[in-house]
Symmetry: C2
Subunit: 328 residues, 2 copies
């Protein structure tokens, strides 16, 4: 089996690559080749490098998408995109990368023809929803995004469903909750602090908290995100039907509850490293995002996330900190 | 006030033009100029021709959208598009006209800058919804279109909302129910028969019925459609909020009930002109469309449609047949 990952240099792309290289399998199939594409060349995974091609390219540039699918990958994980804050500040770039890049990929698949019909797993976002919300968002709630990022994700979901209905691809869109705890440096996502307030203190560094502790949000770990992707790639299409875009499960809790889980893992010293500094732009964006879901379909289809925020902190310590906590 | 109508040569475009020329006003404002654009040059309305420009052009062609907005129309009625059956059979044309043409229009407005911020009223469709449905579709029901046409309409709705949120336009999207009775010849819309079974028999001609009499659907007259457009153009934006795309009201009835209304207006002779001939493609498309709505927001915002199908038949006889029925 040949797998293409777009946005492979991003955090989830790297973790997905690692998992595929470790497993050497996707569901029942052996992974024979990996193609990793991103605007900056993705790193070659150790131990499997004979079977991996990496490429620095932007899907929205002419010819790039055609080249990316020219070797007919069986499964495409389409993760490429600019994050919410960047799509909000750079209007043109957001539409170009998030919408036009995705459309170019779908069109390149269509142009291949000849019965080529890959599984395309697209990472969408809960940002397709916009306030006001019911207490918990049902699977059939309408899409009224309040960011350009959410708009672009929702537009691609719609195209993916249409291309799937037409038999051009086998699409599955997964709406990720906030992926927490993100390793590495803070990125430009407005949701970055949800990770920062755990990751930074556990590493002995100060973290900024731009919103109030009462903010409620839904999270899943990077390990769960990779699990969602793999489950979406191996899911029986017949079980999915026409509604291919799914709300993923996660742990719903307040920022205050996150901080208490941090305290249990890293002690008062860790919690003391959180510095409160209100940011009205972040506050506004986060307020417009959904807080709580009732992701019945995804659960019925077998998607699994953590049950508590403590588990999410533990996954971070295991997967990114080698099991050790600096500040404890 | 300067008004631009795209798709002005279409049925609703012509009736809207007629109404604006008759009223010489839109809400509190005097209509000073009209610009009518369509792929085929729209007819110049009688009696106002000094103030009307017509242009044959395709918004998706380079430079056309920029030219269309170069004289800064205050209100843009964006009606241009290919219909459902055509968007389904010609994939490229559907996306080019319905999506790229609309995007080109929004981008041309954005490129104008300098505080230019027209009201843009976009005719969307109930085809943004896809089966299975609850008994009556609520305003917050999700968008899972089952046609390329519905997909393209939903994508433009999302863009229109984002460009509105960004302050580039003042967008209002109105999801039209089936507009019945359409005057003139049958067109390529899958919904064409809903008009045909009334219009043709009232003119003494045979009409094809491709679906069963039990099919339930929601309709409004062309006069109501024009009323929706004008109401959307004059609506206080503050009352609308962020959710600018609205389900319009209409008359919900079965094909059998339509036929009984035809009988009351045109007699048994008219009804005898309906010839049943099942068409599986039309049946499939219509089955995937919504049947019944609970359009609470539109009603609260003052949008008005007919109350009975008899009224819809009467509007057709008044507006398109000069008050006379051939077959009665």
């Amino acid at each position: 089996m040949h797998i293409l990952i777009t946005g492979a240099a991003g955090m989830i792309g790297r973790k997905l690559t690692e998992r595929l290289v470790t497993d050497r399998a996707l569901g029942q199939d052996t992974v024979e080749r990996l193609t990793l594409v991103d605007v900056a060349a993705p790193a070659r995974p150790a131990g499997f490098s004979d079977h991996v091609k990496t490429r620095a390219a932007d899907l929205a540039d002419p010819g790039v998408a055609a080249k990316a699918v020219s070797e007919r990958p069986d499964v495409i994980f389409h993760l490429a995109g600019v994050v919410s804050a960047e799509a909000e500040t750079d209007f043109d770039k957001g539409y170009r990368v998030n919408l036009d890049g995705s459309r170019a990929l779908l069109e390149a698949i269509r142009a291949t023809g000849d019965g080529y019909r890959p599984r395309v797993v697209f990472t969408s976002s809960m940002a397709v929803f916009g306030a006001p919300f019911p207490h918990a968002i049902p699977d059939d709630f309408h899409l009224t995004p309040l960011t350009s990022y959410g708009t672009q994700k929702a537009m691609v979901e719609l195209m993916l469903a249409d291309y799937t209905r037409r038999g051009i691809v086998e699409g599955v869109g997964i709406r990720l909750p906030s992926i927490v705890v993100r390793p590495g440096k803070p990125n430009r996502a407005a949701s970055g602090f949800f990770s920062g307030i755990v990751r930074e203190p556990l590493a002995g560094r100060e973290a900024l908290l731009p919103v109030s502790e009462s903010v409620v949000h839904t999270h899943a770990s990077p390990r769960s995100a990779v699990g969602f992707l793999i489950h979406a790639a191996t899911l029986d299409r017949a079980r999915l039907g026409a509604r291919i875009n799914l709300n993923m499960p996660g742990v719903t809790c307040s920022v205050g509850e996150q901080i208490e889980a941090l305290r249990r893992a890293g002690g008062d010293r860790a919690v003391a490293l959180i510095r409160r500094e209100a940011d009205p732009l972040v506050e506004r964006i986060v307020d417009g995002w959904p807080h709580r879901f009732d992701p019945r379909r995804a659960l019925e289809l077998g998607f699994k996330a953590e049950k508590t925020f403590d588990e999410i902190v533990r996954v971070h310590i295991e997967d990114d900190l080698g099991g050790r906590v600096a500040a404890a």
